[in-house]
């Protein structure tokens, strides 16, 4: 049976999602100021997207970012009761509309911002310590068969445009006043959380191949092969020590 509030809520929901056309009439209420609710809702979504896509907002400016955000809200209304991770399809929307905004590198910024947000709120876990690997070596064990696992906060971002350096400036709140020339060229970026801080750095081809193999479930032996295939001068010992020190891999046990 239809609830007595059904009609009112249906009408109000149509106002909120912008599908209501013509004069708004609401059961029980004088709808003169009904748009306050819609404006408040839009502002809440825009604020969250601005926080989650900080560099994109800084890059394109307030008015354009608002327009992009409103388009996103229309295409992807919130379904979860928390907006913390809202905006998961933002990069895809920008990729699908390059002809409209004419900024082909924009989705590369978006992917990096997304990786930052997900890294910031990812599950906590114990990082792998170097002594675990050293013990295996000392005991004559098989290091090649050792299974590495990326920490939950780790993201490997492959961009079509080399925006990393510029993105990092926006991310750190630096004011970018000089024109920057970008030529289409792929880049690989590592984003992860170390303690409470989200870290990021670009990866050379050997490092990316190594981490990508680990991400795909490969053991240390396979990751080493992939790294050397990508870049024959890769120093695997140095790479591994650096990554373990940066807390890129999980230990066997998980907490949090």
């Amino acid at each position: 049976m239809k609830h007595p509030m059904q009609t009112y809520m249906q009408e109000m929901a149509a106002v909120m999602d912008g599908s209501h056309t013509g004069t708004v009439e609401l059961e029980h209420f004088d709808a003169k100021y009904v748009n306050v609710y819609r404006n408040n809702s839009a502002a809440a979504h825009i604020d969250v997207l601005r926080a989650n896509y900080k560099s994109v907002a800084a890059l394109v400016g307030e008015d354009f970012f608002k327009a992009l955000s409103l388009e996103y809200v229309k295409q992807h209304p919130a379904r979860h009761r928390t907006l913390v991770g809202y905006g998961e399809h933002f990069a895809k929307m920008l990729e699908d509309n390059i002809e409209r905004h004419n900024l082909p590198y924009l989705s590369s910024f978006t992917k990096l911002d997304r990786a930052w947000t997900l890294g910031h709120t990812a599950r906590d876990a114990k990082p792998l310590q170097m002594d675990v690997l050293e013990n295996i070596i000392q005991q004559g064990g098989d290091l090649e068969g050792f299974e590495l696992t990326l920490m939950p906060s780790v993201a490997l971002v492959r961009n079509d445009w080399p925006v990393f350096a510029l993105w990092a400036e926006f991310r750190e709140g630096d004011e970018v006043t000089e024109a920057v020339a970008l030529n289409e060229q792929a880049e690989n970026v590592l984003v992860w959380r170390h303690g409470h801080d989200v870290m990021y750095r670009d990866l050379n081809s050997g490092e990316f191949a190594f981490l990508n193999a680990v991400k795909s479930g490969g053991n240390l032996g396979l990751a080493t092969v992939k790294a050397l295939e990508a870049n024959t001068s890769t120093d695997i010992g140095q790479l591994l020590a650096g990554m373990v020190g940066a807390e890129i891999f999980m230990s066997g046990g998980v907490d949090g």
Binding site: H3, M9, L26, H28, R79, T82, H196, G256
Partner: protein
């Protein structure tokens, strides 16, 4: 679990986590929207844990859609229960509003018609919600932007719900003031119509004037200092209710912690003035 102290508290914001944690005074408690902490891990939860170890904590929800017709969101309830189990808050509260329909979440607090049917619905929903999270809650009076011809006055509507559902009330005096301007409610009569024993917390906050309609339409923005009429209403509310926890809300244009502390101190002074007047009598 301990009760919130009858003192002034403050909305906790990431902008001043460190200052909040290092605050050395004894008269403090903090409130957060639990939805901002429904994450898998990371610094937010670590900061909240450090704060909750040191100060009483209140979880003030915005996402339950208590008055909505959609079933409660199972993931939201589970996340809220997880936060309650982890942080053992002194208080949990929500809003006498709705915010979702047909699976879509609007991220705003929409008004309920004040009808007997809505009242019955809210009683059932609060009962279900309280059972699901294992806590008695407070429900907050809404901000009104639209006049209504509903059959019940807002205080009568809320008091009846609270009594039947076994929950308490959170009196937001900023919302009462905004409603008095926007839809002509009598703010003083509203406050005095609420039984003091039902009220577990008071909120104060700042409002904005609507960019088009100006001072005739006030927006509950929480982006500016508390206004003088709202400070006056706080005094009136405390005189009627007696000492209760008073929260200074701030969600936008976050100033320095020291600036917020000036307003916090004023709220604390308003509570302290009750004890002084009691002694004088």
């Amino acid at each position: 679990m301990t009760r919130l102290p009858n003192m002034a508290g403050m909305s906790l914001k990431p902008e001043f986590f460190r200052e909040a944690l290092n605050y050395s005074g004894q008269n403090m408690w903090y409130e957060v929207h639990p939805e901002n902490y429904m994450v898998d891990g990371g610094p937010r939860l670590a900061w909240l844990e450090a704060i909750a170890d040191k100060y009483p904590l209140s979880l003030h929800g915005v996402g339950a859609s208590l008055g909505g017709l959609d079933p409660f969101d199972a993931a939201h309830l589970k996340s809220l229960r997880t936060l309650i189990d982890r942080f053992n808050p002194a208080q949990v509260s929500e809003h006498a509003t709705w915010s979702s329909f047909d699976g879509r979440y609007f991220a705003d607090l929409l008004p309920l018609p004040r009808t007997k049917a809505a009242q019955d619905h809210m009683v059932d929903r609060i009962d279900e919600f309280q059972s699901a999270i294992g806590r008695r809650i407070l429900i907050e009076n809404p901000t009104n932007y639209m006049a209504t011809n509903s059959e019940l006055d807002e205080p009568d509507f809320l008091v009846e719900i609270a009594k039947r559902a076994g929950c308490g009330l959170l009196l937001d005096v900023n919302n009462v003031y905004i409603s008095s301007v926007n839809v002509g409610t009598n703010a003083s009569a509203y406050i005095h119509a609420l039984p003091p024993e039902l009220i577990g917390e008071i909120h104060i906050a700042g409002f904005d004037e609507d960019p088009v309609h100006g001072k005739n339409l006030l927006i509950d923005a929480h982006s500016s200092p508390v206004s003088e009429p709202v400070w006056d209403l706080l005094d009136a509310a405390l005189e009627h209710i007696g000492p209760v926890p008073v929260l200074l809300e701030r969600d936008g244009n976050i100033p320095a912690f020291s600036e917020l502390m000036k307003e916090h101190s004023r709220a604390q002074a308003a509570i302290d003035a009750l004890a002084i007047s009691e002694v004088a009598e």
